[in-house]
Amino acid sequence: MAKVERVSDAAFLVVFDEAPTEEAGRRVRRLHASLRDAAPAALVDLHPAYATVLVRFDPLRIDAARLAGELARRAERTASNSEEPIRVVEIPVRYGGDSGPDLDEVARLTGLSSDEVVATHAGAAYEVRFLGFSPGFPYLAGLPERLWTRRLSAPRRRVAAGSVAIAGAQAGIYPIATPGGWNVIGRTDAVLFDAARPRPATLAPGDRVRFVPVR
């Protein structure tokens, strides 16, 4: 049962679960699609995440209690069993060296060789849970437990665009150069975000991602 929580005078958080379960992820995707494709009046912005959707609205244009009711009804309708089409996206990655400055440190922390880290990371199938942090940044589920490592003790001021990174149970790709605290193990030339494209973000929630090592 989803909960609709007021988090500010102009935002609700629809909570499906406290943990990032797969079922919560599916419901987040369905609610996000429902609100995006048939937006209630006064909707301003949608922030889907692992198990929640934050809904920003204009409180001068809609009664908050009415919107909360509408969100609760929409959230209930996410319990469908229909299969979603699955899209698989391959991301070519140069691992290690200047492209992946933390590869050796991840190897040290995990007790694996650098080659084993690469094989493990590239051997797994990932699912895009949501885009957040910075434009087009995919939060990926599916990182093998052997690669779970702590993040950098002090974030880098600048992580290069295309950096392929891991932290804790999470994996991701930095689409643009930003500060960041995840362990960077490789880099891709794939463009993950371009505001000039009709679909600015390359990846969407629900997509499957495979990393392909290249030289």
Partner: protein, 309 residues
């Protein structure tokens, strides 16, 4: 056309922002003080959402190729037009070849230069606002530099206003008043002392205050017990508390999601004043209910509508 003679400390093109792309990881950005932007645009007869220049702490110097009308709103910026001091919150006539020189702001942090017609920059995801952290919008996604040139748009909807505006008549816009906050979803995770300290403390802004967020100095706000929050969507004005206990108010270029617990959220009617907080400035918080916050926002919006004639 406007030529940037000197950019000032940090000057960007801003409009009412680009909401609607948080699901791509893009926060709305837009003017840090949307009241100053909206009033300035109304003064020169623009659409209130037209693009203008947002100057930070120290204003810039600009030359106007053609004659026109301008308004400077927000923090007083010691502005001189062709060498003569001009007041803020009023319409000023600029001659062809005229030069506006702004200086250091001593009260408030941001001044807005609104030009009749608005600034013409290529829209990115529907908005001209600069998102510095993402390098999107405005002039190539960056702050202005000397020698930059800006063309004017034609977002004119009315004649220039005949009278100046008194910003002290806008409810919720008085410097020094407490920032009103609603409860956060994780407020109860914090120790009782921390919840009390939020509103009992005179906080100070640190030097780490920018368009992404404002980091505050004061007592550490501690959780009752260590607890992990699954990353969730975050919104403008949310007061998040990292493990060190030092609160950060999320601002216009905030990240769209975050994993730190939130102890409260600054109400919408007080967001514009966040944009006027200087580094190392005292501030306090006061609690309100969300419904009261909406009433305060409506009162403020009606006052802004009524104030520019």
């Amino acid at each position: 056309m406007i030529t940037v003679v000197a950019p000032g400390f940090l000057t960007t093109v801003q409009d009412a922002g680009r909401p609607g792309f948080a699901d791509l990881g893009v926060s709305a950005s837009g003017a840090a003080d949307p009241i100053a932007l909206a009033v300035g645009n109304r003064l020169v007869g623009n659409d209130p959402a037209a693009a203008a220049l947002e100057m930070t702490l120290v204003g810039g110097t600009f030359r106007f190729a053609a004659g026109g009308w301008i308004a400077l709103c927000g923090a007083p910026a010691a502005a001189k037009l062709d060498g003569l001091e001009i007041p803020g919150w009023s319409v000023q006539r600029v001659r062809a070849g005229g030069e506006l020189a702004c200086g250091a702001m001593t009260q408030g942090a941001r001044a807005y230069l609104c030009v009749r017609g608005g600034l013409d920059v290529p829209p990115v995801l529907g908005s001209g606002s600069t998102h510095l952290a993402s390098g999107l919008g405005g002039l190539a996604g960056r702050a202005l530099a000397a020698g930059d040139r800006l063309e004017l748009d034609d977002r004119i909807v009315a004649e220039p206003a005949s009278r100046p505006v008194d910003p002290s008549r806008i409810p919720g816009y008085r410097p020094g008043d407490p920032f009103r906050v609603t409860e956060g979803l994780q407020s109860s995770w914090f120790m009782r002392e921390a919840q009390a300290a939020l509103v009992a403390t005179t906080w100070r802004t640190t030097d780490a205050c920018d368009r992404m967020g404002l980091r505050l100095e004061g007592p550490a706000l501690r959780l009752q017990a260590p607890r992990e929050l699954t990353t969730e969507g975050v919104t403008l004005g949310a007061i998040q508390v990292p493990a060190d206990g030092r609160p950060i108010i999320l601002f216009v270029e905030h990240q769209t999601t975050g994993g730190y617990p939130k102890i409260g959220c600054v109400i919408s009617a007080d967001h514009a004043r966040l944009g006027q907080l200087r580094p190392r400035t005292a501030l306090r918080f006061a609690r309100v209910e969300a419904d009261e916050a909406v009433r305060l926002l409506r009162e403020q919006a009606q006052a802004i509508d009524a104030i520019v004639r």
